[in-house]
Symmetry: C2
Subunit: 354 residues, 2 copies
DNA sequence: CTTGACAACCAAAACGTTTTGGGTAATAAT
DNA sequence: ATTATTACCCAAAACGTTTTGGTTGTCAAG
């Protein structure tokens, strides 16, 4: 590969002049510049990115480093999200550096490495935990970032984020179920290790309250993950006398709903919206949701707008700009939670299961 | 961020010693090493990646730079592929640098930049064209790469690749259709700008030949892309007298099949496997394939094994090894076409449409 | 005839590593 | 008593840029 020296030699000028000519400085004669540009093209010169970023220049790359949890159930969502993020990056002329993070390595380590190492200009954070160590870390390292998700203490958040309003979403589902005649609505929650899980659960509680229903701990199952845990949590609910048994079950995500649909028949129940059936809902609208038998009623994550806004925000932060154009006005289903803090509404997709 | 100098100063040794201690060289005293390691940890030191790769060290990153064509129909496949590739990279402890390539910029440029610029150790090439300029380019730049797909002139290929055997796949579909009683089988081909498209078409021809059927140019439509072009290509076929009209239509990809399913009713036909219906097949098994009405019979791309093999190969090449462990024996549906050249078989998924 | 301004250029430092080609002192071999 | 050998360490060069802080020469104004 040709270096800046090769060009300098061929042009009979110093490397300083070559650099300045190529970077559009005004203190180089127009003729000289044209000659240099020509030579650079002939030699097929491209500046070495490593050397460049060693000088503190932009890398035109942003990082996405999602956590990989043991149960790979999040995979379909991860794939979709990564793909859309790549497309969004393309629109900003950025490359996307995808580094998966397993539980083998220390989280801090990875992010420190990313931040201190001159490989990227900014970071997209996902899989936010209730108290996420990465946020103060990136802040202290002065690495631009935007989070997809919020840690707890909503009113005190100072960092930029985009989140999907799981609380409002689940509340909406509960309201929908109530409006279709359900009064005993159960909730299946995944583990609360990630922040969104508790948020959705809060939505369930709010939904009940708004519908004038009272919480019943017998209709609540926490910390579920696989089909087995769903089955054991479900049994006592379904063993209740008919008048106390749930007529609808809200699952915290599509995977739990999937397991639910598999388990219900084994206990002699069928899922669906008809009288005598148990209504079932999910969250995410993963690709398989419409496949299920019955097709799953669920809340769809607005992945495309999420990624668009994430990138608009991140680019604005990197460039030290005030507010990205796409956010001048809160669109439909888009709330400006704070400066550079955006909340998006999930969409209720009604199918046969509820 | 702490640099190697900070450590050297604190430890009272030279930066050389720090570097060698941290990189496991044998010419540093065990006590000294332990002290240095300790200090590095205390200072949360991580070597600067840019400086490192400027020295010619590995970046532990590989690039994936797919072409973005105007009609974004390839998007679902792209998303799936990118996600799976990221997962495969993770297993090799590599990061994946995703750079989409639009038609705005010169292809050569992007790849030169990637290759000469010290950002990645290797490249995954996709969207191979019949004569792909990127292949000699990367070869001349001595940048390790593996292609997903083959350019033409199959017997003369010298570069490492993984490909899905579109020819055999489509031939299989034709054989299947023939075995279910079809004798007039049409083919809808996408543009031949990418190599796989012609490969699949060749499969159609081979399938006909093996079934003892003779090609009929009236049953062939080339260069299709959108619903409109499918409609105009279809009209003359369906206007044929009944005895010459196709009873089955093979589409070169799922998108064409999708359009086909939309267009057929408009001409008064229905798609399906029942007598009187027109059988329809696709290729790829995109997520929506099983949704369609009727559900699409198609050939499934083995994306996961494709990505696994791509990465095993690329890592072996980067490390200058002979053959990755995963390829010691040709598994089921896996042919060793040549050294570091692998052919995978697509799987026929029979659904309601044929 | 000086002074100042300006256009055009450049040498050297800096960025943070790794590698090269040593050096020194202690111990072992002759 | 000299010579190898070994263990441990280091200064300086190298990687390819950008930036800093100049210098030089030309021309217009005083």
């Amino acid at each position: 590969m040709a270096t800046i020296f090769d060009i300098a030699k061929k042009a009979g000028v110093s490397i300083t002049t070559v650099s300045r000519a190529l970077n559009g400085y005004s203190d180089v004669n127009e003729n000289t510049r044209q000659m240099i540009v020509q030579i650079a093209e002939d030699l097929k010169y491209y500046p070495n990115a490593a050397a460049r970023s060693l000088q503190g220049k932009k890398t035109n790359t942003i990082a996405f480093a999602p956590l990989l949890n043991d149960h790979l159930e999040a995979e379909p969502f991860f794939k979709e999200f990564t793909g859309v993020l790549a497309l969004a990056s393309f629109k900003h002329d950025l490359s996307l550096l995808v580094t998966l993070v397993g539980q083998n390595r220390n989280l801090q380590e990875i992010y420190r490495e990313l931040a201190g190492t001159g490989r990227v200009d900014g970071v997209i954070l996902a899989d936010i935990k209730p108290q996420d160590e990465r946020i103060p870390l990136l802040q202290s390292l002065k690495m631009p970032f935007v989070a997809f998700g919020r840690s707890i203490d909503y009113d005190r958040l100072t960092y930029p984020f985009v989140d999907v309003d799981g609380k409002a979403g689940v509340a909406k589902v509960v309201a929908y179920l109530h409006s279709t005649g359900h009064h005993r609505i159960a909730y299946l929650a995944e583990s609360f290790t990630l922040a969104y899980a508790r948020d959705r659960y809060e939505g369930y509680r709010q939904g009940l309250k708004e519908a004038g229903l009272v919480e019943d701990t017998r209709l609540l199952a926490l910390n579920l993950q696989n089909e087995e845990s769903v089955a054991t949590a479900l049994k006592p609910m379904l063993d209740l006398p008919e008048a106390e048994r749930p007529t609808a079950i809200v699952a915290g995500n599509d995977y739990l709903a999937l397991h639910l649909l598999e388990v219900l028949p084994k206990f002699g129940f069928t899922a669906g919206r008809e009288p005598g059936q148990i209504a079932v809902t999910g969250f995410d609208d993963l690709p398989f949701a419409s496949f299920l038998q019955p097709a799953l009623t669920t809340l769809r994550q607005p992945i495309t707008s999420t990624c668009t806004v994430l990138l608009d925000l991140l680019v604005a932060i990197i460039k030290n700009q005030d507010k990205p154009a796409s956010l001048l006005n809160s669109g439909p289903g888009l709330t400006l939670f704070g400066p550079k803090q955006v909340l998006l509404q999930p969409e209720l997709i009604v199918r046969a299961s509820a």
